[in-house]
């Protein structure tokens, strides 16, 4: 029940200040129409017929800006430090695992809202046409969200200040988006980048989305399992490094 109380409280905090959601939803919505035409050309060049570019623009921006979900996870912890409520939480009846669980609910909720809004508006406004499986889309999105939430925890555990978190997530978002084929289609990446691509979760998220949207055959479960594997690795790093009694510096 403590987890629920913490999740509800974080939801209240989000309701009072919803600006962080802009990173997750409004920014990709702004970018998608601009990149759609360019992606249309590259998909034509790839020989993918019957596309309009939304098939790459919508999941690409979901993956790129989805990385800010990791920031949301981390900021959720650093905010408690900045407001001096972290020690109060720790001294409350809530156990460490209940606090951890409670703090992850709202980011997962944000991920769900992001997915619904981006793919919903992508279908309505950008004529995103899913030829493959609509069911597979949320499964890929869910696995990717778990991966990002675990990444957020790992970064929270490894960093001491919120500025470090911000820098690491921003760099990761850009680098992983490029390597993963979210910002630039995989077919246009230089050779050295295509070698590195499978090492980043965004590549597997893009592969999963692409297979679901375009109906490409070949191991629909593989991207999902790899994303869950990344999530497990990040969670292990978090478990290894996360110390509840470590003082962290957030924006006061």
């Amino acid at each position: 029940m403590s987890s629920l109380a913490i999740a509800v409280n974080d939801l209240r905090v989000l309701r009072r200040d919803s600006i962080p959601m802009l990173m997750l939803i409004v920014m990709p919505l702004i970018v998608m129409p601009f990149v759609k035409a360019a992606f249309h050309l590259t998909m034509q060049a790839e020989g993918v017929e019957g596309t309009n570019g939304a098939e790459q623009a919508v999941p690409g921006m979901q993956v790129m800006f989805g990385f800010y979900l990791a920031s949301q996870v981390s900021f959720g912890f650093y905010r408690e430090h900045a407001w001096a409520t972290w020690d109060r939480l720790r001294a409350s009846p809530a156990s460490a695992s209940a606090i951890l669980l409670g703090k992850l609910v709202v980011p997962l909720f944000e991920a769900a809202v992001q997915f619904i809004v981006l793919f919903g508006l992508g279908g309505l406004l950008l004529q995103l046409h899913v030829r493959g499986s609509w069911v597979q889309l949320p499964i890929v999105a869910g696995a990717f969200s778990l991966c990002l939430v675990a990444l957020g925890l790992a970064v929270t555990a490894a960093c001491r200040t919120v500025l470090q978190v911000n820098a690491i997530i921003n760099i990761s978002a850009l680098l992983f988006a490029c390597l993963g084929g979210a910002l630039v289609p995989g077919s246009l990446l230089p050779h050295w980048a295509t070698v590195l691509s499978p090492l980043v979760p965004s590549y597997w998220a893009m592969t999963g989305f692409r297979r679901a949207i375009l109906g490409e055959s070949g191991g629909e479960l593989v991207p999902i399992l790899v994303l869950l594997g990344f999530a497990a690795i990040f969670a292990l790093i978090a478990a290894w490094r996360l110390r509840f009694d470590q003082q962290k510096t957030g924006f006061a």
């Binding site: 629920l4 509800v8 209240r12 905090v13 020690d87 109060r88 409350s92 009846p93 809530a94």
Partner: protein, 334 residues
């Protein structure tokens, strides 16, 4: 006051548990090479307020954090009633309310939401929770502020909310770390009255403070820490009987002279001379020893034994001063 309607009353059959509400046994804590706590033991009974006193760096906040279960000691044990804080933390924390030194509220949330959250964390729900939020807010004078974001409260009101949040689940033990720091006179008086009321309703209170006058206002026992040691522990009466002394304070124009035959300490331009007997009998001898320096004497005060003199005797420092005391030989002690 309905604030603690469910608390057990001292003196009743239910209020005589086998264990004190708080038991601290031989607690030790190191931070690297710094030995912050050196075998501290104390106990707080129901209805008792124990004030933790000590200079900065004495170990008060470390001890309070260990009691609250957010810091693990290297050695020793802490019990809230019969629950071990170290091995069954979550259960023990249900029995205590902790207000850390730094004000910790959710600034963007309304007062009512801040209170509600800590009630929810403790398992309160529905009408019981709503009723409790109202009771606590009323006790702290926050009823008219319920729908305001906490960031819009005055500093004193925010501090009140900070303490109020600890009371939502009616804990038998309250652990308050310098709760009146930065609080105006009115809110401080209100807070002290609430704490007295809590104690009279049967709650144990561990109260860390820099303000010695609050100890007397609360009718608290005192536990004095210095450099990680518990150097004094007991009621004010017993502490004054054991460690209090009379003193003569002599203020000079310019630097005070050195006394050859008496122990004395310098406080800026004032010479503090403790005595074991009545200071009146000592004054003449001190004046004689001053010699020509007596012409620079601006004022002379006879000091009765009080908590401050106990504090000074046990810690070598004046209460409320962060800096070091300078002794007659010019050396300083942190």
């Amino acid at each position: 006051m309905t604030l603690l309607a469910h608390a057990q009353q001292p003196g009743t059959k239910e209020a005589r548990p086998a264990a004190p509400v708080l038991t601290v046994e031989e607690v030790e804590k190191h931070y690297g090479s710094i030995h912050a706590l050196k075998g501290v033991s104390l106990a707080i009974e129901r209805g008792e307020i124990v004030a933790l006193l000590g200079p900065n760096g004495a170990g008060k906040t470390t001890l309070v954090s260990i009691i609250a279960g957010i810091l693990r000691p290297d050695r020793g044990s802490v019990w809230v009633e019969k629950t071990n804080v170290l091995s069954t933390g979550s259960l023990a924390r249900r029995r205590l309310g902790f207000a850390p030194q730094e004000t910790g509220v959710y600034p963007t949330l309304r007062v009512e939401e801040n209170l509600r959250f800590f009630g929810e964390l403790s398992g309160l729900r529905g009408k019981g929770l709503t009723r409790r939020v109202g009771e606590v807010a009323e006790a702290f004078g926050l009823t008219n502020r319920m729908h305001r974001p906490a960031r819009t409260l005055s500093g004193g009101e925010r501090r009140g909310l900070h303490v109020a949040m600890t009371l939502m689940h009616r804990p038998p033990l309250l652990v308050l770390d310098e709760p009146t720091t930065g609080v105006d006179v009115e809110n401080r008086a209100r807070l002290l009255a609430i704490i007295r009321s809590l104690a009279s309703d049967g709650h144990g209170v561990c109260y860390s403070t820099h303000y010695l006058n609050e100890v007397e206002q609360l009718g608290a026992s005192a536990a004095i820490l210095n450099e990680g040691h518990l150097v004094g522990y007991g009621t004010l009466r017993s502490l004054m009987a054991d460690h209090g002394h009379y003193a003569v304070d002599l203020e000079f124009e310019g630097a005070p002279p050195k006394l050859k035959h008496r122990v004395s300490t310098l406080r800026e331009s004032t010479l503090h001379v403790p005595t074991d007997c009545s200071p009146a009998t000592e004054v003449a001898a001190i004046l004689a020893e001053l010699g020509p320096a007596v012409e620079r004497l601006k004022s002379l005060e006879l000091v009765q034994p009080n908590l401050e003199s106990v504090f000074t005797a046990l810690t070598g420092q004046r209460a409320g001063l962060d800096g070091a005391r300078q002794s007659q030989d010019g050396s300083s002690h942190e």
